[in-house]
Amino acid sequence: MSDTATDRESSAAESDDGWTVVVGVKQVPDSDEVGIDPDTGRLDRANAPAVLNAPDRDALEAALSIRDAVGGTVTAVTMGPPTATDVLEEAVAMGCDDAALVTDRAFAGSDTWPTSYALAEAVDHLGADVAVCGEETTDSSTGQVPPGIAAHNGWAQLTYVEDVDPLPEEGRLAARRDVEGGHERIAADLPVVVAVAYGEFEPRPAGLHRKLYAETDFEPLELTADDLGIDADDVGMDASPTQVGGMETVDPVDREKETVETPAELLDALSDEGVIAR
């Protein structure tokens, strides 16, 4: 069937206008189906189906909305094994113009440090003006990768972004970000890394023909360590500083559930327990 799909828009229509937006996405175990093995205390991810990290849908929507406003292209990028292509297909179905799979044996076992390094090289390689990411992944929840990309490339970063406002004339991207007790609006010069707040963008549904295309005919660009000029010694398990000290399942502490009527009584109770000194 592949040869019978037709392109309604010739590639000649491509223009140099607009921004190059790259959006980082990740395949994670479906968190609805991940359990904790009570004996080992480890997450049992093996049986959970792999899905697109939910916060990345917000990132995709934010990226596509930037393209809607200023033109240009959106390319999704993921680092992972060839099976991670599924999440790229989902990104292309939603509307990304292209997608790249950063894949190499050399990357195996990478923690957030080499991962953000490899992704930083990838977004640079793809010529990104804006790199958009979800705020964190549901399988590791570090939130370190987006700032890591910015740090490796020496780019500006906007984190916990709730709304984006591209300012093409100024070559800047303004954003509203969530801060404790309210929000702030700040603008950054391009290139910039944006980490969007989870739940703030309503992801658009995939169009019928795009979804079909993404799932049947689309082929992602593959980028190896070599393509990105990355030395195999700088990535992978050995280049990962994270040490996992151990895992413990913590039993909940029984609460006494006492109620006190006034602040004074609370202070008395706390000092009786030796929590505060008076």
Binding site: R8, E9, S11, G207, L208, K211, L212, F218, L221
Partner: protein
């Protein structure tokens, strides 16, 4: 982007900017149920490019179904050795329930233990439909999930030439459309291909899947099963569905049981309590509850079952489209039989073959598909529906007798016949007979009743 050159160097196809699949597929199948996947496998095997559109997250995700899959046509179509079936049916048990009695007949023919096990297997549709759709994909079909068909594309001359979906840019054209959307056939009705079924011709099906968290062997022990053998228990009478016309069932899966009811929707809408309540009453009947003791519900679903019989089969072929499976009302539901799976697969297969033949000749007019209604008419599908058409009417007319009086009378007669006291047995037999005759209207009444239902065994 500067990397297009790289991409070419790696031999990758350039991404399309605005892809279109209009006309890219020969046929679009609406619904990846049994009928849809049977049609898709058939057409893909014939070399057609087939797109199957399913609204669920995966095929079977939304399918409610009691649980016995009948496989005579299926195993001709695909290799079933790896099919996810639960147990083969080794026992069929029919029982009449009054509010507190049960009178049952059980059949356990030895040959059902041997392959192909009378072509009857319990299945969970969430797994089975997914597997069957994968067979279609392996044969070359494309499956698109999480997409609901909302309407049909018509040419100026009325020919059906594609479908509309709930997605943006959601219209796609193809020469042929197979409507396999099941009993709740909103697309076919919306396109005037069939009229909404009258309430007296629609049954409501409710089903729960129950598991037994305490012990693995519960199902085998309670239902007297060994290895992969399974049981299908069928129940009638007021203890099963109250005042309604219909029945209840329990089917054994590998580690779970499917428990459910199927009865007239007109009864469901009238005085009858809600389907969940009726199901709960059935589950707590004194002779049902012990089978389910300690069980926990893991799944609940409700669905409509068309049961208008051969008279309510709509027109099966249209210019550019065929209607198959439950969407065409092809279910046999008469109390003794609840069969739709075999009819869905048979009709999907015949519909798919008719399209493949028409495509061969480059035709899309309805006359080009006529082998489908002809072969269906000659097959067990329409023959069975016709044969049992009268039964539902008869049962409706006799409903008080069959569903309420007879279950009581049989139980009382049984109790009388086997009564232990100091009277001679002859007296018990006489009283038992009297109790039965009083209900059916004497010997003549019994003879008449037998005559009225003689065709069941014709």
């Amino acid at each position: 982007m500067t990397d297009d050159a790289d991409a070419d160097a790696k031999g990758r196809r350039e991404p399309m900017r605005d892809p279109s699949y209009d006309g890219a597929f020969d046929a679009i199948v609406v619904g990846a149920g049994l009928a849809g996947s049977a049609a898709a496998v058939t057409m893909a095997d014939e070399g057609l490019d087939v797109l199957v559109i399913e609204r669920g997250r995966y095929p079977g995700a939304k399918n409610v179904f009691g649980g016995v899959l009948y496989t005579p046509t299926l195993r001709e179509l695909v290799d079933v050795t790896s099919a996810p079936v639960e147990r083969y049916v080794a026992e069929k048990r029919f029982s009449m329930l009054s509010d507190d009695d049960e009178t049952a007949v059980s059949l356990r023919p030895g040959e059902w233990h041997d392959p192909p096990h009378n072509d009857s297997y319990t299945v969970l549709r969430g797994e089975f439909d997914r597997w069957f759709a994968e067979q279609a994909v392996d044969a070359g079909a494309v499956l698109l999930t999480e997409t609901t068909v909302t309407g049909l594309v018509r040419e100026d001359d009325g020919r059906i030439a594609g479908v509309e979906t709930d997605r943006p840019d959601g219209t796609i054209t193809a020469d042929y459309v197979v409507l396999a959307e099941g009993g709740n056939s909103l697309v076919s009705e919306g396109a005037d291909l069939r009229k909404p079924e009258r309430a007296e011709n629609v049954a409501v099906g409710v089903k729960e899947v129950l598991e037994f968290p305490e012990r693995d062997e519960v199902i085998r022990d309670r239902f007297r099963l060994s290895n992969d053998a399974g049981a299908s228990y069928h129940y009638f009478g007021e203890g099963a569905v109250g005042d309604a016309v219909g029945g209840g069932f329990i089917y054994t899966n590998e580690d779970t049981v499917s428990v459910g009811l199927a009865y007239r929707i007109s009864d469901a809408a009238g005085s009858q309590p809600k389907p969940e309540q009726t199901l709960n009453a059935f589950k707590s009947h004194p002779s049902v509850a012990p089978l389910l003791r300690g069980a926990r519900t893991v799944e609940y679903g409700a669905k409509t079952i068309p049961e208008g019989g051969s008279e309510s089969i709509p027109k099966l072929v249209h210019d550019g489209a065929v209607v198959v499976g439950d969407a065409a009302g092809l279910v046999l539901n008469n109390g003794v039989h609840l069969e739709g799976t075999n009819m869905a697969v048979e009709s999907g297969h015949l519909g798919g073959e008719a399209i493949a033949e028409a495509a061969e000749r480059g035709r899309t007019d309805e006359a080009a598909f006529k082998s489908y209604p002809e072969r269906l008419e000659a097959s067990f599908v329409v023959q069975n529906l016709e044969r049992y058409g009268w039964l539902m009417e008869r049962v409706e007319a006799d409903r008080d007798l069959i569903f309420e009086e007879l279950p009581h009378a049989l139980a009382d007669a049984g109790a009388e016949y086997f009564r232990m006291d100091r009277e001679p047995k002859e007296k018990h037999a006489e009283e038992a007979r009297e109790r039965l005759f009083e209900t059916v209207g004497g010997l003549r009444g019994a003879a008449k009743l037998a005559y009225r239902y003689r065709e069941v065994l014709r």
